[in-house]
């Protein structure tokens, strides 16, 4: 097969093992990176191969053992003062160097903002395929290739993407689309110190960093979320949602339209271009249920929709739905929680009310 003269020739057969890049956040392994390690473990067992983990940074050696506990068989560590600061070109070069040197067949990187920034650079150095924002993976039964499955065309379609003849096949996935694996202190593995040859980051210098306090807890960790959309009609709508969230021990999040309107910050946006959440319980209030929004709540265990339009798509994608104006329903929910808190024995009566008080329009 003739290939582009700007690509190195490689022998795909030489590439074995599934790797995950582990991002380090405030001195510990980021949850998003561990989720990639979990995916790598599953793929490696289907392919009967090893799981590699990559650590790049200064002082990261101490985390290698941790990576093994979470599922790595071999941990490649590039611990060097050169990697004290992250620059996309620098980290990109380092990861590409390790991939060239140790030849994994697949490389998974969490699609955090940094991950999305430097991973395509890695792919370009290696002249290999990269598939962004995978929501699942397939191992082709005949060719044994790993395929990345991702939403495309504004998330209306799902594309199953294969990387032909180039290795490693590179994939990113958004944080929280996959679960965080369990830590197993009995696991053993090998730690491999490395020394990537890289060109120092030229022409770019970090001058300063200022954190913006997230204030509230991050939505991806919340067990209960009360989410508001355009239907709230204004920023004030979130005040009622916050009150409701408080009485049930939840956090507040929103749809993209609520974010675009400036009613809530972007770090609290749920959906394809926001965050995927894994809450037990999710209230969608004044949210229509666009496909891109639904992408963020696939892993939610129970979805409750409150919307005044009985035909809103969210009602086809919820467990419980109440049709009506949220300005009446949410205060009623707050009242109900308080009433039940005061006399928990009422629950049995209320549950049985069922069909008598509500006009069931869907379900049974």
């Amino acid at each position: 097969m003739s290939i582009c003269s700007e690509w190195d020739r490689i022998n795909p057969e030489e590439y074995v093992g599934v790797w995950a890049y582990l991002e380090v956040e405030d001195g510990s392994l980021s949850e998003a990176g561990l989720q990639m390690l979990g995916v790598a473990r599953l793929l490696a067992s289907q392919k009967d191969t090893y799981v590699g983990a990559v650590l790049i940074g200064r002082g990261v050696s101490s985390l290698a053992r941790e990576a093994i506990y979470y599922g790595a068989d071999r941990v490649y560590v590039a611990d060097d003062e050169r990697f004290e600061k992250y620059y996309p070109t620098l980290y990109g070069e380092a990861l590409a160097y390790l991939a060239k040197e140790y030849k994994p067949e697949a490389l998974l990187v969490a699609g955090t903002m940094r991950g999305r920034e430097f991973t395509p650079y890695v792919a370009n150095i290696l002249k290999t395929g990269i598939t962004a924002d995978c929501t699942s993976f397939e191992v082709d039964s005949a060719a044994k290739d790993i395929l990345g499955v991702r939403p495309t065309f504004g998330a209306y379609l799902i594309a199953h993407i294969r990387t032909l003849n180039r290795r490693p096949a590179i994939f990113t996935a958004r944080p929280n689309v996959f679960p965080t694996p369990q830590k197993d202190l009995a696991r053993e593995g090998e730690i491999i110190p490395t020394n990537p040859k890289v060109v120092d980051a030229v022409g770019v210098k970090l001058l300063g960093r200022s954190r913006f306090g997230r204030g509230a807890a991050p939505i991806e960790k919340a067990k209960i979320l009360v989410s508001g959309g355009k239907g709230l009609g204004g920023k004030e709508g979130f005040t009622i949602l916050e009150e409701f969230a408080k009485v049930i021990g939840g956090e507040v999040s929103g749809s993209r339209k609520a974010v675009d309107a400036g009613w809530i910050t972007h770090d609290r946006q749920v959906g394809q271009t926001g965050k995927a959440v894994r809450a037990d319980l999710y209230f969608a209030v004044g949210i229509s249920g666009a496909v891109q929004h639904l992408f963020g709540i696939r892993e939610v265990r129970c979805v409750v929709a409150i919307n005044k339009d009985p035909d809103a798509p969210i009602f086809d994608n919820c467990d419980y739905g109440l049709v009506g104006d949220y300005t009446e329903i949410v205060p009623a929910l707050i009242k109900a929680v308080k009433k039940i808190k005061a006399s928990p024995q009422l629950i049995t009566n209320f549950v049985n009310l069922n069909i008598n008080v509500v006009n069931l329009i869907k379900g049974n």
Partner: protein, 265 residues
């Protein structure tokens, strides 16, 4: 400062609909627009030029119909535009697309390349990093503010999940503009009239660029779409009620959630 802005002419995915009967995507009649993220890159480029001088060239690799997008860009005030189009470029993935664009951009004089953060159709956010790699220049994503400092240097502010970062960049460099910037400017008729002038919109094909066929289009693409499918619905209970008595309905719902174990009171 001479700036090149990469834009993509995309189907307006916000108006896509699913045919409820057949469950298929209605693609026909979906109008195209400049990728909304690229509109912010265009605005940033034009604002930088207005303040610090220089020129702005919009470039796209696309079928000929994308000329409309370039006309829009010129209408916003770009000095020049380039349409890179050839049948040989069809079927390109992000590696082959970035390769072709990088080769085309190399023919232009530039200090800065601006791209939108991602596209609304395929949303990969690959092209910026890949262009920087082909062109061997530094780059940063998620840029919310930028200033020219003189002496071939720029000050750049970008936003990550939980922090703002400030950088100094030596030109030439590439930046991806974040979405939440100032409003992109509108088209002015006087600017748009310039599209008729010779040399304002140039069309380059593979005779112009002379690229190896193995490096472009489908042949230069390591990835292929094996198949497409629809988003699988998550199975849900779908118990939807129109309450007669809101208070009672609320009590019923909260009790159900407690019974199901999702809510602890």
């Amino acid at each position: 400062m001479d700036i090149v802005v990469c834009i993509k002419w995309v189907p307006n995915t916000t108006t896509v609909n699913i045919d409820q009967k057949t469950g298929t995507l209605i693609r026909s009649g979906v109008p195209s627009v400049i990728n909304p993220h690229d509109m912010h890159a265009l605005e940033m480029a034009l604002a930088l030029r207005d303040k610090f001088g220089g020129s702005v060239t919009a470039i796209t690799m696309a079928p000929p119909s994308a000329r409309l997008g370039l006309e829009h860009a010129v209408g916003m005030g770009c000095d020049k535009a380039v349409l890179v189009t050839d049948m040989a470029y069809a079927g390109a993935d992000t590696l082959a697309t970035s390769y072709t664009l990088a080769k085309a951009i190399s023919r232009l004089k530039f200090d800065l390349i601006l791209v939108g953060q991602e596209t609304v159709d395929s949303s990969t956010a690959h092209i910026g990093a890949q262009l920087a790699s082909w062109l061997h220049i530094p780059y940063l994503y998620y840029v919310v503010d930028a200033k020219y400092l003189g002496d071939g240097k720029m000050w750049v502010k970008r936003m990550l999940e939980d922090a703002y970062e400030e950088y100094e960049l030596a030109l030439p460099a590439l930046l991806a503009a974040a979405m939440h910037l100032t409003k992109p400017r509108r088209v002015k008729l006087s600017h748009k009239m310039r599209c008729k002038e010779e040399g304002v919109i140039e069309v380059w094909n593979n005779k112009t660029l002379g690229l190896e066929v193995n490096c472009v289009g489908l042949k230069g693409s390591p990835t292929i779409v094996k198949k497409t499918s629809f988003v699988a619905e998550v199975p849900r209970k779908k118990i939807v009620c129109q309450p007669r008595d809101i208070d009672q309905a609320a009590e019923w719902l909260i009790s159900r959630l407690v019974e199901d174990g999702f809510l602890k009171i």
